[in-house]
């Protein structure tokens, strides 16, 4: 390296000189940098292979026409134009996905916190209730969705039968575009076990002295919750919201299974099947990515939708973390 450098400079081979302090310092810094890089390398490799490379590939493919055969050909912004202007299902999918992000995530967090609070207050049979509320989370999503589609069947399901007996309205659930997303939300709330466990752990971790001090100051149950519990568990709430948003942006299995079962599509007679039954109300962007990419083999358009999902996820997460100072406990 030094020889090449010297040759390029045209000065011939320099005489070996004692290393200067600056040179030693530089070498030390370089060694430190190499050491740091070595320690970081597992993450760097993982980040490059599993995030950076797919991200760059997705951006690249979104600018190409590619159906899986031959080489991709550059097509500029044609895929973006197609998705935003000529694919009405995209906007419907975006609306549905955002609905689920706002409503489903909020209700899951509130419900998970509520169940966690209830269980921490229970004096006897805590283990039983904990197990009962956690078990549904372990149910495979397909089986759980099929079971819900059966229970909520508007014609033969026991839920509507019971509602009818009580003289209450009988919604169409998965068969009614107004009720299909609320039905999916119910399903998500049934499998609340993951959030319940996290909230329980965080609630049990709130220092007892703070409650005692608040009580001495005359704080009632609501004030204790508002000024003691909430500030202590706010990082957990934030974590639940952020992971909930990211998970919901990938919402696929339950929506497609519910649409298929309620829509009466067996899908084995060569029949064309477009997910989203009824009337596109359960059609989410992740389904669109699969549909465009692996059923229509329009990889470019699929990459556009994937990038839209990525940008929304990043934006929502960044805003939430910035506004609430990340996962740090609140000073309230």
């Amino acid at each position: 390296m030094s020889l090449a450098f010297g040759t390029r400079k045209g000065t011939g081979s320099p005489a070996p000189a004692a290393p200067s302090t600056q040179h030693l310092l530089r070498r030390k810094r370089r060694r430190e940098a190499a050491r740091t890089l070595a320690f970081l390398s597992p993450w760097l490799i993982g980040f490059s292979v599993f995030f950076l490379y797919p991200l760059i590939s997705t951006i690249y493919f979104s600018l190409t026409k590619y159906n899986g055969f031959g080489a991709p050909t550059f097509s500029g912004l044609k895929n973006w134009d197609y998705v935003f202007n000529d694919l009405p299902a995209f906007w419907q999918g975006l609306r549905n996905t955002l609905w689920l992000v706002v409503i489903m995530v909020s209700l899951r967090v509130v419900f998970g916190l509520g169940i966690g609070l209830l269980i921490t207050k229970v004096k006897t049979g805590v283990g039983f209730f904990r197990t009962v509320f956690y078990l549904p989370y372990l149910a495979p999503p397909v089986a759980a969705t099929v079971a819900f589609a059966f229970l909520l069947n508007p014609g033969t399901g026991p839920v509507n039968h019971l509602l009818g007996e009580l003289g209450l309205p009988q919604p169409g659930w998965f068969s009614d575009p107004t009720w299909s997303k609320p039905a999916l939300t119910l399903l998500a709330m049934w499998g609340i076990g993951d959030l319940m466990v996290i909230f329980m752990a965080s609630l049990l971790d709130v220092p007892k002295e703070q409650y005692e001090a608040a009580e001495l100051d005359g704080a009632g149950p609501f004030q204790r919750f508002r000024y003691v519990t909430l500030p202590n568990i706010s990082p957990i709430i934030m974590f639940s919201v952020v992971t909930g948003v990211i998970q919901t942006m990938q919402y696929y299995t339950q929506a497609i299974v519910a649409g298929k079962v309620a829509g009466g599509i067996a899908g084995n007679s060569g029949q064309q099947f477009e997910p989203g039954y009824p009337q596109g109300s359960t059609w989410t962007l992740p389904q669109m990515v699969y549909n465009l990419g692996f059923q229509r083999f329009n990889y470019g358009a699929a990459c556009v939708v994937a990038l839209v999902l990525f940008v929304i996820s990043m934006a929502v997460t960044s805003i939430l973390l910035r506004r609430k100072s990340g996962f740090m406990a609140s000073d309230d």
Partner: protein, 451 residues
Amino acid sequence: MHSTTSRRGRRTIAAITGSAVLALLATACTGSNDAGGNDDSASGKDVTITFWHGWSQDNEVKAINDNIAAFEKAHPNIHVKAVANIADDKVNQALRAGGDDAPDVVSSFTTNNVGMFCSTKSFADLKPFLDKSGIDTARTFPSAMLSYTQFQGNQCSLPLLGDAYGLYYNKKAFADAGITAPPKTFSEFAADAVKLTVNDGDSYKQLGFMPLYHGYESTTEHFLGQYGPTYFNADGKSAIATDPKVAQMLTWQKSMVDKLGGYAKLDKYRSTFGEEFSAKNPFHTGQVAMAIDGEWRTTSLAENKPDFDWATAPFPVPDDQADSWGRGYQTGTIIGIASGSKKQAAAWELVKYLTTDTDAVVNFANAIHNVPSTFDALNSPKLVSDPNFKTFLDIAKHPQSGTTPASVNGGGYIVSLQNLGYDYESGKQGDLAAGLAATAKEIDAAIAQAK
């Protein structure tokens, strides 16, 4: 110091990005494999080919395996490794991935993807093979079947048995309602459907016919088979907004929905139906008195033995096309050769045997009760056929029976039309002309995008 760090940082980012782009370009430039027609199988060399198909039920798998065994007996040096229960998604992905485990011969249950198979050249053009073997396709295969196995002159697949759609009716319900013969026109059909409907509060004891597009085989393309529409103009643009037959069909279907109780009531009743391919099918259980379905239902009904007599007939036709009664929608299983296969000569021998050998076609049709896909097999005395099954053989032979044309993006246009159907039947879309125009635009954009 800061500037050195940021310069170094920029270099690092540039290096990572450069490597990623290089890696990306390297992986992106993987085209399809070279095709290989000469595998020396003709000179007697042992060759093993892989055949992917979608049949999964025991009797179906046995039937195709029997056919393969007969083929291997006739071609001792060609061995076939059959893989069952493969859907089109997997086929498409495997053909793109290529490699030694990719199939040489592929069959698909749906004809909708033929346009994609042909236009992407994932299936080899069979014309050279057909010419070499001296097979005149027009004299061998019924025209509708020949139509759905090619795309823009590229005969990249061949029919391997077919499906025809007709009317199934409950003879007991007909007798109870005083109906003496199956309807032939849509006005007769509507009158019969109303007569056969027995209301039960906000539900039904028996429904004459389930017209909703989610009512199993009551799909837009099956109904349109009775009209003979033009899906695409000569310039390749969607014709659904300009061919009045499409609007007529959608209007007719909506009128059926309204006559039989309205969308909400029908959809709630539909949710009580059991699985389509089971003994709980609403026609088997007597929940509906008439149904549009394929010829395979004759076997299911014979096996499940419902507690009523039933019969089949061609599905009714529009009143102004009464003379076309006897026609029906046709589709079927198709078979082709992967263009990436290096054993195409052996693969062709299998495809030729399965699709054109009369005994092979007849035996297979008898075993799985599908419509034979060659003229010789349709007219073969060995074909087992009762009057109910014969209805479908006649529909298959009818000159006005039709199918949906192949498209460059597969069945995307059918899905778009079906989505409009859902919106129109439910009342979400009230302006049919506007809906058709928007759907035609959507279809054209999707096709332009895929070209």
